[in-house]
Symmetry: C2
Subunit: 215 residues, 2 copies
DNA sequence: ACCGAATGTAAGCAGTGATTACATAGGAGG
DNA sequence: CCTCCTATGTAATCACTGCTTACATTCGGT
């Protein structure tokens, strides 16, 4: 009966409670204001106790990131499965929307995932694996889009892939990095970002013919 | 003769030497490993001395960021003036190239500018001003491109502007955040990023017609 | 019932940003 | 030349941090 809350010498489920306390601290004072001592205090435990479960602060933050990443991929996949797979471009649009929407709705969680200096991204199979999984889904969508002529075959898949990732990642990072502080006072930042996403996907879809001869 | 190096009780030009020491620390151990005590030690001065010139650690890091920003805008403007203003799209391409090239060549400096948690970006007129200046140049290029038909008028300037900024910012942040650790082993990350830039600018130029009717 | 493993505590170390009180140097004005 | 003010440095100290080591306690399997 490890689930009992006798709350004696042994805590019971310190791990999850430490993660929860950490998330609370992040939401209150930002990702840089996290301290494992404070997390221990909030869990009602000694300052050294967390180190029994996490080798160091980075490991604790990485655990938080893994939990956040799980929710992110869930959001993306839900958005993706809600879209039919008739048009690959719409699949890419769904991924972009899901990714952006989740980041806007959960800025603190996204902050943890994105702030690579405070987590051990490459040391976490879950983080690298789920990132790679999304990448492969996008690569498949691009390939199908080009096979059906929906995406120009002149666009190198690798470069297109990287462009799309950089775009959406940059958009989210600009958000959490505070780039929209004074921007677009007449228009909510979220709306501006959504419009940018639509424009970017439309560009991939090749909707905009111009005179290619230049000036 | 304040420039003399008598090196007595008063240091002479502690400010610049502290900034130099800070940059050295960043290049050695990363932006998060900076400590003002260590910077003071490297400058041969007491741990409290830096606080006579910088209100806090953030102010010191912001000074470093301002110096870095100056070099970034210089790089961008050089690349821009080296390109004729005949084709606005090529102007955008030049900005993107200059921005990316500088970030790749000076990752530590870019890291300081980008890591908004460690500097006071919005409190620095130089940082906000030079950022806004580049933004205005891009906005002008977009307007001219649309006026000449070189860029599709169907693309909302605001959204296009934001897309371009998010793209290039995301690319650079992916670089400094270590997203290219295992990627593209067969192809240098710098080359892959350059190709992504070319593709993105080409998309703005509308080079890629597809069947818009969908599948 | 016992014993080892898991999990907690207590105490302490080195390092951090920051503040306060005090010491020193240099330049302006008499 | 001397004095005084201000800029700039030092010394000492505080609260806090991540982390380690030695010790205490509890749980679970045999």
């Amino acid at each position: 009966m490890t689930n009992s809350s006798r709350a004696a010498y042994h805590h019971g489920n310190l791990v999850e409670e430490l993660i929860a306390a950490t998330i609370g601290m992040i939401e209150e004072k930002g990702v840089d204001a996290v301290s494992v001592r404070e997390a221990a205090k909030r869990a009602g435990v000694s300052p050294a106790a967390p180190f029994r479960h996490f080798a160091n602060k980075t490991a604790l933050m990485t655990a938080v990131a893994e939990q956040a990443m799980g929710r992110l991929t869930l959001s993306v996949q839900q958005e993706l499965s809600a879209t039919g797979d008739a048009d690959p471009v719409e699949g890419l649009r769904a991924i972009a929307r899901g990714y952006l929407a989740w980041a806007l709705a959960n800025p603190t969680h996204f902050d943890v995932i994105a702030s690579r200096t405070v987590i051990d991204f490459h040391g976490s199979p879950k983080l690298t694996g789920e990132t790679e999984a999304i990448r492969l889904v996008m690569l498949d969508l691009i390939a199908r889009g080009q096979a059906s002529g929906r995406i120009s075959a002149a666009l190198a898949p690798d470069a297109l892939m990287l462009s799309a990732r950089a775009f959406i990642y940059g958009l989210c990072r600009m958000w959490i990095d505070g780039h929209f502080a004074e921007w677009h006072v007449e228009k909510p930042a979220g709306q501006a970002m959504a419009e940018a996403v639509e424009l970017f996907i439309d560009m991939i879809g090749g909707r905009h013919a111009t005179n290619l001869s230049g000036t």
